[in-house]
Symmetry: C2
Subunit: 463 residues, 2 copies
C-alpha cells in the first residue's frame, strides 16, 4: 500500500517548491495512513512543510500515525508554538503517547505550551498519562460521546452531530449520571432504530461489559475479540467512566502481543519497534541476556559428559549419539511448551488444568517416543552398531521424549502459577534443561544395558 | 467472564423443567457470548431446548458463537426443519462456516432445507462457499448495506433503519451502481454530519480501499489494522462488490495467526482448535511429522561425529564441548529466525531487504560470538583444559554464532522468496541444521589448533 505514497512524492516535492497552498487540495482525497507513509519518504524538513501546509484538523491524524522518531523530528522542525495546536487536535490517547515518547524535557515543554493553547487537551493528557502503557488505562481515550439518561434520541443525534467529528468512536453512546457514573450504553444502531422521541433511558442496555483501568492489555484484547466489541468502556471506582478503548488499538495490541510471544519463544527480549527501527546495540542487549544465560546453563552438559567420561572413553561410539538423543528431547519439549504457552495466552489452558495437561503430555510423550525410538533403532542397526546399542538408544529415546513433553508442558504452567509470564521460559531454555537431563538419562541407560561391553573395555568395575 | 454463565445455570435448569416460556425473559439482558458459554455448560439436549425456546432472531447469534462441535450437536438435536430458520438468521459468513464445518451429508441436507425455508440465505451460502476459508472471500459477509448514488441522506437513513438490524456492519454504507459495482463509501459518521437532503453522491468518498477475494487473510488483517478500518470491502473483477470484512473477524484472524506462527516456530503443525478441543491422535499427527523430520536430519550429527571419530578417540575431552558449542549456534539461529519470521509476518521486513538483514546479522553474530567466546574461554580454563583448548572453543564459538545468525536470518527470507511460509522453517529445524554445521566447524578448528596434541596422541598423520 506504500505505492500510493511513492506515486505522489514527485508531485508533492514540486508543489512544495512552487505553490504550497495547492498541497491541501492534492492531499485531500488520500487516506491519512498513506499520507503518513508519504511523510516518511520525504526529508524531515519537507515533511514539516507538508504538515504545516495542511489545516490543523487534517494534520493531526497524520501526526498520530507517524513513528515515535518521526513525531519527535516533527516537533523539532515545526516548533512548539506551531505544533501544539496540531497535537491538541490529536485523539487523546495518541496525544498522550506522543508526549510520553518525547525526551522528558521536550515533552514537558510541549505539555506546558499545550496548556496555554488548549487547556482541555492538556488536562486529558494528564488524566491518561497516569496509567501504565500496557494497561486498559494506557489504551483508552477520553474522546467518547456521553449523554444523560433523560436525553431523547433526537437530542442524542444532535450531540453526535456536534461532537462526532472529534470523538474516536461514535458507534456507542455512553449514558452517564451527573458524576460521570456509567449507567448504560446505546449503540448507534439502537439510535437509528429508535424513534426520535424515545428517551435514551428507554433504549439503553444497562448490562454494560466494562473493564478496570489496570487490566492488562492482552486481557482487554481477548475480551473485545471474544465479545466482538468495537469499543469497551473503562470504569474506575464507583462505576466512574474513565475512558473507552477502541477496536483499532486492540488490533495493534493483538499484533504486538503475537510478536512478543514469538520473540520470547525465540529467546529474544521483546523489541518495541520493527526490525529495522531497532538499533544495533539495542538488539545486542535484547539478545545477549538470554543467549549467555542459555550458554551458561548449557555448561551443565559439559559437567554431565565429564562425569561420564570413563564411559565415553570405554565406548567412544556413545558420543556420536549424544546430539541425536538430546535434540529429540529438546524438540519435543519445544512443541509441548509452545502449545501450552500459546494455550495460556489465548485462554484455552488454565494453570488449574495442570493434571489434565500432564496426563495428555505423558500419553503423547510415550507414543511419540516409541515412534522416534523405532526410527532410531533402525538407524543404529544400519550404522552396524548392533542390537545391544540399538536397545540403548531406543530406551533412551522413549525416556527423553517423555521427559521433554512432560517438563516442557509443566514448566510454563508452573511459571504462570508463580506469576511470571510463561513465555519467558522460552523454548530454548526448556531445550537446554532437557539437554542436561537427557545426557544423564542416556549414560545411565547405557551403563545398564551395555554393562558387559563396558566391563570388557575397562577390565575394572564401573565408576 | 464465564462467571455470568455459571451463575445462571441453576435458574435456567429450573425454568427448563417448570416453565420454558419464561426463559426468554431471563436471557434477554445477557450478552450472546455469555449465553453461548451457558449452552456449553448444559447438556446437549438441554442446550437444544434453550435454543428452541428463544425466538429465531435471538437464537441465531448464539448458535453463531458456539464451537463447530457444539453447532453440529445442535443441528442433530434440534433437527433440520427447526434449525434451518435459525441458520437462515445467522450472519452470512458464519452461516457458511457452519454448513462447511458439518459432515458433508449433513451440510448438504441442511443447505437443501434452507433453500426451501429461506432461498436468499441459501444463495448467499453458495456465493461465499466458493472462496478458500483463509482468504478475503472466506472472511467476508454479504450482510452489508448498499445504496445507489442518487439516494439522499434521509433515504439512506431510512434504508439503514429498515435493514440495519440484519447487517453485520452499519458503520459504512457502500455506494453501488446498477451492476453492484462499488462507486464509493459513506461512513455513518458522514451520514450523521450531512444534511438530510444532501445526496449520497455528494458526501461519499470515492477513494475506497478494497481488497480482492483471493487475498490471504493475514494480509487482510494487516491492512485493516494499519488503516484502522472497522470494515473493508472485497471487490471482484470489474469493481463488483462481493462482500465486506468486519473488524470482529479480523481480531479472530490476528489471534489465530499469532497461534499458528508460534506453533510453527515450535515445530507443531498449526492446530485448528484449542488445546483441549484437539483430539489426542490429531496432536500426535501434528507433532510426529516435524519431530521425525527433525530427528532424521539430526542423524547427520551422528554421521559428522563418526567422521571425526579418530579425533574424539585421541582427545575424548573434545566430546564434552559438543552440546555446548552447537547449542550456542542453535540458540543464536533461533533468535535470528524468530526476528525475521515475525518481521515478515507483520510486514516490517521484506525479502528484498535480504542484504541489509545479512549485514546486520553478520555484525550481530560477530559481537554476540565474541561475548559468548569470552565466557566460554573462562569456563574452559576453570575446567583446567588449558589455553590451547580454550582457543579452540573460543574460535569455534565465534564461527558457530556467526553461522547461526546468518543462516537463521537468511533461510526464512529464502523460503518466503520461494513462496513457502517462512514459519514452516521452524526454529528447531534451523537449530538442527546449525548443529550439523557446528560439528564440522568445531572439529576442523580443533584439528587446526590442536594439531600437535592430536599428532602426539596418534603417532600417525591425521585422517
Amino acid at each position: 500500500m506504500m505505492r500510493v505514497a511513492v506515486a505522489i512524492v514527485p508531485e508533492v516535492r514540486q508543489l512544495l517548491q512552487e505553490d504550497p497552498t495547492q498541497l491541501r487540495e492534492l492531499l485531500e482525497e488520500i487516506h491519512d495512513e498513506d499520507l503518513a507513509d508519504l511523510l516518511g519518504l520525504l526529508s524531515e524538513s519537507e515533511a514539516a512543510l507538508v504538515l504545516r501546509a495542511l489545516p490543523t484538523a487534517d494534520a493531526a491524524p497524520i501526526l498520530e500515525r507517524l513513528d515515535e522518531d518521526q513525531q519527535e523530528a516533527m516537533v523539532e522542525h515545526i516548533g512548539m508554538e506551531s505544533i501544539a495546536p496540531i497535537v491538541g487536535e490529536m485523539s487523546a490517547d495518541e496525544r498522550t503517547d506522543l508526549i510520553e515518547a518525547l525526551p522528558e524535557a521536550v515533552g514537558d515543554t510541549l505539555l506546558e505550551t499545550l496548556e496555554k493553547v488548549d487547556p482541555e487537551a492538556a488536562a486529558e493528557v494528564e488524566a491518561l498519562a497516569k496509567w501504565p502503557e500496557d494497561s486498559a488505562g494506557g489504551l483508552m481515550t477520553t474522546d467518547y460521546v456521553s449523554v444523560p439518561m433523560g436525553f431523547t434520541i433526537a437530542e442524542a443525534i444532535e450531540k453526535l452531530r456536534r461532537v462526532g467529528g472529534e470523538a474516536e468512536t461514535i458507534y456507542y453512546v455512553y449514558v452517564v449520571s451527573g458524576g460521570n457514573r456509567l449507567l448504560g450504553v446505546v449503540s448507534l444502531r439502537d439510535v437509528l432504530l429508535a424513534g426520535p422521541n424515545d428517551t435514551i433511558g428507554e433504549v439503553m442496555t444497562e448490562n454494560v461489559t466494562a473493564v478496570g483501568p489496570e487490566m492488562d492489555q492482552e486481557e482487554v484484547a481477548r475480551t473485545m475479540a471474544k465479545y466482538d466489541f468495537s469499543a469497551l468502556p473503562v470504569m474506575g471506582a464507583d462505576r466512574k467512566l474513565l475512558g473507552v478503548i477502541t477496536f483499532d488499538d486492540v488490533m495493534d495490541v493483538l499484533t504486538q502481543e503475537g510478536t512478543e510471544d514469538a520473540q520470547r519463544l525465540g529467546a529474544v527480549e521483546p523489541t518495541e519497534e520493527g526490525y529495522f527501527q531497532t538499533a544495533f546495540w539495542t538488539f545486542i542487549r535484547k539478545r545477549v541476556t538470554w543467549l549467555s544465560a542459555l550458554f551458561i546453563s548449557e555448561f551443565f552438559t559439559g559437567t554431565a559428559l565429564r562425569h561420564y567420561g570413563g564411559v565415553i572413553e570405554a565406548i567412544s561410539k556413545l558420543a556420536y549419539y549424544v546430539p541425536l538423543c538430546i535434540s529429540a528431547g529438546g524438540n519435543t519439549g519445544s512443541q509441548s511448551s509452545t502449545l501450552i504457552i500459546r494455550g495460556l495466552a489465548v485462554g484455552d489452558v488454565k494453570p488449574r488444568d495442570w493434571y489434565r495437561v500432564f496426563l495428555r503430555e505423558l500419553g503423547q510423550g510415550v507414543v511419540l517416543g516409541v515412534m522416534l525410538a523405532a526410527i532410531g533403532v533402525v538407524r543404529v542397526l544400519m550404522w552396524g552398531d548392533g542390537w545391544q546399542f540399538a536397545a540403548t538408544i531406543g530406551v533412551t529415546l522413549v525416556a527423553i521424549v517423555v521427559m521433554g513433553s512432560t517438563v516442557g508442558s509443566m514448566l510454563p504452567l508452573l511459571l504462570r502459577r508463580l506469576g511470571i509470564d510463561p513465555a519467558t521460559s522460552s523454548t530454548p531454555f526448556i531445550a537446554t534443561l532437557i539437554d542436561v537431563m537427557g545426557i544423564v538419562v542416556y549414560f545411565n541407560v547405557a551403563k545398564l544395558l551395555l554393562a558387559d561391553v563396558l566391563a570388557a573395555a575397562h577390565h575394572t568395575p564401573l565408576p
